[in-house]
Symmetry: C2
Subunit: 567 residues, 2 copies
């Protein structure tokens, strides 16, 4: 394509609401545009990259024996009610009614939909195993859409679902997908880690997440140095190291005027924050609930949601009024003498003597509180957020890196088939529930991860097999006949070789052309300038940006050599 | 792919709610499934066809210089209000609110969205002309979804939009699309006609529709034998031939007891129905309005909507109560002495003397009524539905055929750019509105048209370049080792030649396999049966279904020869 006719609206300025490099660069390079909050248009350059990613995903899914279908984005409410997820997704789901007042959502995922499809069609064990996938637009009405394509409200996802006769073949199907995902993310050239995931709203027993490392990622993964153990921070079990052991002392109520945070209390009493019980005052599905954890820790909401079986969006902070109604006082909440309140204790607290807990009275705390003797509550096994330096189950220290979740795979078991009553007939003619798995690849989110891992100050550096075009031929002076003629010829010859080529034939200053070229990140570059009349051009790659004077033939050869491996 | 592992749920019975062949066959062949009313899932076989159609459309659009992008299905309400179409689409548009109560629709088309995109990006005449397209899922909440993919509520459409500096270059861009559409529908192998279209909700000055001929089509096209004139029936201008001319006679009110329809009145008075004025009692946007047309004709709602500038969905029939309120009586409505009622006359009535009109009183009509002398009203130029045998403007008779609208192209002028205030700077630095065109291809609807034109009683007959697979190899007895070995070998060899091949290796009765094969319409067939041990197979095409004993090599050669032209 000739840039003089191409729709590539590059920007010089960094858009003010774009926080991370990939978001800024994709906007600046004229690859995406915001249509509404969290909703993007993919422009010609950007959409070419997406189609190349889709092609890789299709190839690997087909190779793994999965079959492509396409389901509607509109999903009937009924199937979501059967699984109970209409409520779980809550405001994160776009909902609408048709002209007959029938309710639908715009699918954020499709476990229910695929289950209901297969339910009606697959009746015999002979038709199993089955693995079907789609590359489809998904919708999530995120509370805080951000980082461009990374957390958008509309995005493209490849989702696959496997149907098997029993747990063992489900695990086999899962492992086939695990391997296919390794191939996909290897081919996308991503530096990624596979971590034991949190199954979250998906349910089911085991899952893995594929996390592309990036300092701008929203998620944190923690892993041991030898790489044998890896978790998302939300999922990582915490083996909490308490304060030094002590004999139990006598409970005592002490004034702590003005000291309401853990930091203030610990300082005031000159104690290790580990010996303070932190109270988190919550309304869980509307019910008053106070959760106590060690003072040096943060509450892990995902773990709490899993423990209470209440979705995260239905967990909110109490206001002061509600805290007073519990018989407590804001900033001084403790586990003793609360009224009409559910009390949940992280189990680590049951092993620490002489805790500092709130006095439920302004300006007072108890010291030397001991579980069982002085206070009580439900014991939850582990509600803590992991911290860098925590020890893994094998005693190694956990390291932290940020990352972008580009894929996930779930063993679902019979969760959805039971909910939707989806059965097949086994060899004995008996109804059995399907064992299922679900497998997602974030197509548009992968674009973000690729750009995060492949850019410099000047712009994007596309890997050659994902680049919208492999080569750009730049005519430095569009009024120089020699340059134009040679540029056009090289452009035509490279196209004839089957390459995707851009020709910058615009009537623009050379600086504009060079800046745009760096910004959009075309990997191979031929510059047709002053020496055109002598048949000499400059050749460079986007990666090293070092120009080399070459004859036209040599430059063409370099290009063809670099493109050979993607053929 | 091996059918033993393939997701192809064929049906023996014809689904009860499928009325036309394409709908029945696509369901029976396991190519599509209904997910909800007017909403379909594309199963593996069906989706392969869709992807092949998409590839052809992409090639021809790219060749015509259009660039592919992808916009969101979610479109903000604001841009639709600017064009006035939020109201025009009415209940046909799926509408929803996000978590912040911001309103969106699921785009039924994207003139506004593309205009608003380009408005922000294209500032200079130097960036024009521009043509961009997308292949995207569209949504229309049809009142009566039917005929499967033909009139669905969710469907895939290629829509393109051109932006030009003036009317002349808009027409040039339009003609480029016209040619591209001819190539597209030629390559889809469709028997189609190009008719002057109705611009309907799109607005604008000129348009064409590409109509695939099919007796099951919802639309009717009328054309002269020499093919020089063609219209949709909705758009066809009517050159009405009235009854024999007569001198004006005296107005007279006569009893017509029990005769309330045109047929009854004409029979009772022994008159040509052409001499009766038919009253159509309507509420137009809530306002009482009675339209009078010749008694042998039907009212053309599209023309009425265009004339009154009120969308069709806001035009409804009066109930008896409303008719009485107009000072009339149901079945006896005439143009005289109506109260608070808008009266519209088709202009043909102004030229007919001695009309029979309702007496606005039960059991009475007037005879010998003459326009101007006895009654009056707004004159609308042409509100009539065309009839077969009507004369075209050149005096030729109009022939009728039914058809499916698979494409349409519109010259929009500055309708949308004005509404959305979308301008560029011309050579003199002056703001100018874009001249636009819009161009649609119904991707999923084309599937319907192709099947309607390519099937027989046994099933679908796919054209080879659109078929989900080009060849099917059937192993007649899946327990016969010779047959299995030979079938697998042929399957493998054909795949190695780069063909899309199915192997029917299922443990099913031969009759089931043969029926499925006919049903799904794979164009080339190799049957591995009794003579497998001698290296003899049967070869046939789906079209003629005549089996021919051939050596394996000969059969392979036939297949390769037939596939040559699609390479």
């Amino acid at each position: 394509m000739k840039l003089s006719k191409y729709y590539m609206p590059t920007l010089r300025e960094v858009p003010s609401d774009a926080e991370i490099a990939s978001h800024q660069l994709l906007l600046r390079a004229g690859m995406i545009r915001k249509s509404a909050t969290g909703i993007y248009t993919y422009l010609p350059l950007g959409y070419r990259v997406i189609k190349k990613i889709e092609a890789i995903v299709r190839e690997e899914m087909d190779r793994a024996g999965s079959m492509e279908i396409l389901m509607s984005a509109l999903q009937p409410k009924e199937i979501w009610e059967q699984s109970g997820r209409w409520a779980v997704y809550g405001p994160e789901m776009f909902k609408l009614k048709d002209r007959n007042q029938r309710e639908f959502c715009l699918g954020p995922t499709a476990e229910e939909y695929f289950t209901s499809l297969v339910k009606d069609e697959v009746r015999s064990y002979k038709q199993l195993p089955l693995n079907i996938y789609q590359i489809q637009t998904k919708y999530r009405d995120e509370k805080r859409p951000r980082f461009g394509l990374n957390r958008a409200r509309e995005f493209s996802m490849k989702d696959a679902y496997s149907f098997d006769t029993d747990a063992q073949s489900m695990v086999e199907a899962y492992m086939v997908m695990y391997k296919a995902y390794e191939r996909i993310f290897d081919r996308l050239g991503l530096d990624y880690r596979i971590v034991l995931g949190d199954s979250g709203a998906m349910g089911g027993s085991s899952s893995h997440e594929f996390i592309a490392l990036s300092e701008t990622g929203e998620g944190v993964i923690c892993f041991t140095k030898d790489g044998k153990i890896a978790y998302t921070d939300e999922k990582a079990p915490v083996h909490y190291q308490g304060p030094q052991e002590e004999e139990a002392k006598d409970l005592e109520k002490v004034p702590t005027p003005g000291a309401s945070t853990i930091e203030e209390v610990a300082k005031f009493l000159n104690l290790d924050p580990k010996r303070c019980a932190k109270a988190v005052d919550l309304l869980i599905d509307g019910e008053a609930c106070i959760v106590f954890i060690p003072g040096d820790r943060e509450l892990n909401l995902t773990k709490l949601a899993a423990y209470t079986q209440v979705p995260e969006h239905a967990i909110e902070k109490m206001d002061d009024q509600a805290i007073l109604a519990c018989g407590s006082y804001p900033g001084f909440t403790g586990p003793m003498d609360l009224k009409d309140t559910r009390v949940i204790l992280d189990q680590s607290l049951t092993k620490i003597n002489n805790l500092v807990v709130g006095g439920n009275q302004e300006g007072y705390h108890y010291i030397n509180a001991c579980y069982g003797r002085d206070f009580d509550g439900e014991i939850a096994p582990d509600l803590l957020m992991v911290q860098e330096g925590d020890l893994a189950e094998d005693g190694q220290e956990l390291l932290f890196r940020r990352g972008i979740e580009v894929g996930n795979i779930f063993q679902l078991g019979t969760k959805y088939s039971t909910a939707l009553n989806a059965t097949y007939l086994d060899e004995n003619g008996k109804e059995q529930y399907f064992y299922m798995g679900s497998y997602g690849v974030g197509i548009t989110r992968s674009v973000t991860a690729i750009v995060e891992q492949n850019h410099d100050d000047a712009g994007i550096i596309w890997p050659i097999h994902l680049a919208p075009y492999q080569v750009i031929v730049t005519i430095v002076q569009s009024k120089d006949q020699d340059q134009v003629a040679l540029g056009e010829k090289i452009y035509q010859d490279l196209q004839d070789k089957g390459l995707d080529v851009l020709l910058d034939d615009r009537n623009e200053r050379p600086g504009v052309k060079f800046n745009d070229r760096d910004l959009i990140g075309i990997p191979l570059r031929i510059t047709v300038g002053k020496k055109a009349s002598q048949g000499i051009v400059e050749y460079s790659t986007r990666k090293d940006m070092v120009n080399q004077d070459l004859s036209v033939d040599q430059a063409m050869e370099e290009v063809l050599k670099a493109c050979e491996k993607i053929k």
